[in-house]
C-alpha cells in the first residue's frame, strides 16, 4: 500500500471522543475541563475523575506544552506510518499528557523538557491531526526521524 493511499489509523470513538475530534477537525482542539474544580481531562470522558462532577465544559487549548518523552520507530507497524518516525509525549500547559508527533526541526540531544506548540497536520487521506513543533528552534537541527514532518 502506498503512503498516499494509507488511511490514518482510526481514532477510538467512544461516546465522548467524537466531540473532541470535531474540534480537532476545526483546528480548535478542545478538552473537557471540570466546572467545579477546573481539572482538564484526556482522553475525554463522562465526568471529572478528581471531584466526580459531571459538569464539564469544552475549552480550547492554549497549544503550549513540554516534551516529557520521545521515541523513534525503526520498524513499521502501520501502513500510514513508514519508519522512521517519532512519537512524543507532551505535557500540556493545561495539565494532561497527550501523545503526538514532533514536526519540523528536532532538538540537539535530548528532547525532554523542550517547549512545544500545537500545529495541525493534514494527513494524505484528509484526516486532521494535532501535532507539535518546537516553540524555540534555536539549538535545533533537522529532524532526523523525519516521519512526522513528512
Amino acid at each position: 500500500m502506498s503512503e498516499t493511499q494509507a488511511k490514518t489509523p482510526a481514532p477510538v470513538m467512544g461516546l465522548f471522543d467524537r466531540e473532541m475530534w470535531n474540534t480537532i477537525r476545526d483546528r480548535q482542539w478542545r478538552l473537557q475541563a471540570c466546572r467545579r474544580c477546573g481539572t482538564y481531562h484526556y482522553p475525554p470522558g463522562p465526568g471529572c475523575s478528581v471531584c466526580l462532577s459531571t459538569d464539564l465544559e469544552w475549552k480550547t487549548l492554549s497549544g503550549a506544552g513540554k516534551i516529557i518523552s520521545w521515541i523513534v520507530y525503526e520498524r513499521q507497524y502501520l501502513p500510514a506510518y513508514p519508519a522512521p518516525y517519532n512519537v512524543i509525549a507532551v505535557q500540556l500547559a493545561e495539565g494532561p499528557v497527550v501523545m503526538s508527533n514532533l514536526e519540523g526541526t528536532a532538538p540537539e540531544g535530548t528532547w525532554i523538557g523542550r517547549e512545544v506548540s500545537l500545529v495541525y497536520a493534514t494527513m494524505p487521506d484528509g484526516v486532521v491531526l494535532p501535532r507539535f513543533r518546537l516553540a524555540d528552534t534555536s539549538s535545533a537541527s533537522t529532524n532526523p526521524a523525519g516521519g512526522a514532518a513528512r
Partner: protein, 393 residues
C-alpha cells in the same frame, strides 16, 4: 500504606502451597510453529501442561475442586477440554490466579485448585501492535494513540525508558545487561526457547525496534501452556514432602492517568511498586536482603530496572549501576529471571516465572540451580498494576 493493607490479607500467609507444576514442550512447539505447523490450540497447550502438573503432584484429576484459567482461554471451554467440574472457578492472569487460588482456599470455597494457562499466540498470529493490536478492550492506552502512529506495547516501554533513563542517568548499555544475563540463564535451561548467549556488544549492535529499545529488549512470541496445582497448606503437606508455600502477596495499582501514560512516564510505576513491596515484605516478615531469586515479569527488559528500584533492591537511580556491577546473571549478587524469562525462555505472560520459582525452591533446576534457595520474590507491573508474591520452602 502497608499498615492499611497488611492486616486485610495477612491471613493468606502460607494458606496455600504449590504441589504440582507443568509446562508444554515450548522448545519443540517453537520449532514446529516456526515451520508453519499449528501443534495445538490454546486449550490444548493448557491440557498438556495440566497433565504434567498432575503427574508432578502425584494426584488424580478428581482431587481438583477449583479451577482458574488464564486470560487467553474461555473458562467454560478450557474446563470442558480439561474435563473438570469444579465447585469453584475463575479466570485471571498469572499473578492474580495465585492470589485468587489462595483466597478461595482460605475462605473454604475449595481446597485443591488447578491453575491452567494456554496460548496459541504464535501460530494464530496474535498482534501486539499495528492495525489489529490486541488488548484495547482491557487497556485503552494500547490503542488510543494509534492515529499518531503509537502502537505496540514495546513502544509504551520505550517511552517509559526514555524518560526514566534520563531522570536516573541510566545508559542503554546498562539496560543491555538484562538481555545478556537472561541469555546466560537460558543457556543453562533445556526448557528455554532461546539459548544462545549474547554479548553486550551484540546487544548494542542489534537493530532498534523502537528507539531506545532494541531487538533483545523485546520478549519472544511463542505457543505454549503452563499449569500449577495449589492446595490448602495442610493438604499440601500430605500430598508431598516439599510443597512450596505462597508466603505472602501484595498489590497496588496506578490507574489514574493510565490512558495518557502518565504513571509510566512521570514516576515509572514507583509508588505502586513501593506500596506492593511494603505489603508483601511485611506479610512475609522478610526484606529484599532475604530474597534468593527475584523473578520479574519481563515482556520488555525495562521491567527489571524499574522493579529493582521499586521493590528496594537498590536505591533510586542505582539500577544501572546495580546491573553493571552487582549483576543479575548466574553468580551475580541477585539472580533475576533464572529461567531466562520472557526474553529468552518462553513468553507465557508471567506463568513460566511461577513454575520456575517453584522448581528453584525445590532444587530441581540443574545447571541453573541457585544454591540453598529459600525465598523467591515474583513481581509484575503490567500496565501499572504492581503485584508481588513471595514463594518459600
Amino acid at each position: 500504606m502497608s499498615d492499611l493493607h497488611t492486616p486485610a490479607s495477612a491471613g493468606l500467609r502460607r494458606a496455600g502451597a504449590v504441589v504440582g507444576v507443568g509446562n508444554s514442550d515450548w522448545v519443540g512447539d517453537w520449532a514446529r510453529t516456526r515451520n508453519g505447523e499449528q501443534p495445538s490450540d490454546a486449550c490444548g497447550y493448557g491440557l498438556v501442561a495440566f497433565g504434567c502438573a498432575l503427574a508432578d503432584a502425584g494426584i488424580a484429576k478428581d482431587e481438583i475442586d477449583g479451577l482458574i484459567v488464564g486470560p487467553t482461554t474461555a473458562y467454560e471451554r478450557a474446563a470442558e477440554v480439561l474435563g473438570i467440574d469444579p465447585r469453584w472457578g475463575d479466570q485471571a492472569d498469572a499473578v492474580q490466579s495465585v492470589i485468587k487460588a489462595c483466597s478461595a482456599i482460605q475462605s473454604g470455597l475449595c481446597s485443591v485448585v488447578a491453575l491452567v494457562y494456554g496460548n496459541d499466540q504464535r501460530s494464530v498470529g496474535t498482534q501486539y501492535g499495528g492495525p489489529a493490536a490486541m488488548g484495547g478492550d482491557a487497556f485503552l492506552s494500547y490503542v488510543y494513540h494509534a492515529p499518531w502512529g503509537l502502537t505496540s506495547q514495546g513502544a509504551l516501554y520505550a517511552l517509559t525508558f526514555q524518560a526514566y533513563k534520563e531522570a536516573r542517568g541510566m545508559t542503554e548499555a546498562e539496560l543491555g545487561e538484562v538481555a545478556v544475563a537472561q541469555r546466560q540463564w537460558s543457556s543453562l535451561n533445556p526448557n528455554a526457547v532461546m539459548r544462545k548467549r549474547i554479548t553486550i556488544e551484540e546487544y548494542l549492535a542489534a537493530r532498534y525496534i523502537c528507539q531506545p529499545l532494541r531487538l533483545y529488549d523485546y520478549c519472544m512470541i511463542n505457543d505454549g501452556g503452563v499449569a500449577l496445582i495449589i492446595a490448602e497448606a495442610g493438604r499440601a503437606r500430605r500430598i508431598r514432602k516439599d510443597p512450596v508455600y505462597i508466603e505472602a502477596v501484595g498489590r497496588s495499582d496506578l490507574n489514574r492517568g493510565a490512558t495518557s501514560l502518565a504513571p509510566r512516564l512521570t514516576n515509572y510505576y514507583l509508588p505502586a511498586q513501593q506500596a506492593a513491596a511494603s505489603q508483601v515484605f511485611n506479610m512475609a516478615g522478610l526484606g529484599p536482603k532475604d530474597i534468593d531469586i527475584f523473578n520479574v515479569y519481563d515482556s520488555f527488559s525495562v521491567h527489571i530496572p524499574l522493579a529493582l528500584e521499586g521493590y528496594g533492591y537498590c536505591g533510586i537511580g542505582e539500577a544501572g549501576k546495580f546491573l553493571r556491577e552487582q549483576k543479575m546473571g548466574p553468580g551475580g549478587a541477585l539472580p533475576i529471571n533464572t529461567g531466562g524469562g520472557h526474553l529468552s525462555e518462553s513468553y507465557m505472560q508471567g506463568w513460566n516465572h511461577q513454575i520456575e520459582s517453584v522448581r528453584q525452591l525445590r532444587g530441581e533446576c540443574g545447571e541453573r540451580q541457585v544454591p540453598n534457595c529459600r525465598h523467591v520474590h515474583y513481581s509484575s507491573d503490567v500496565a501499572g498494576k504492581a503485584v508481588s508474591i513471595i514463594y518459600s520452602r
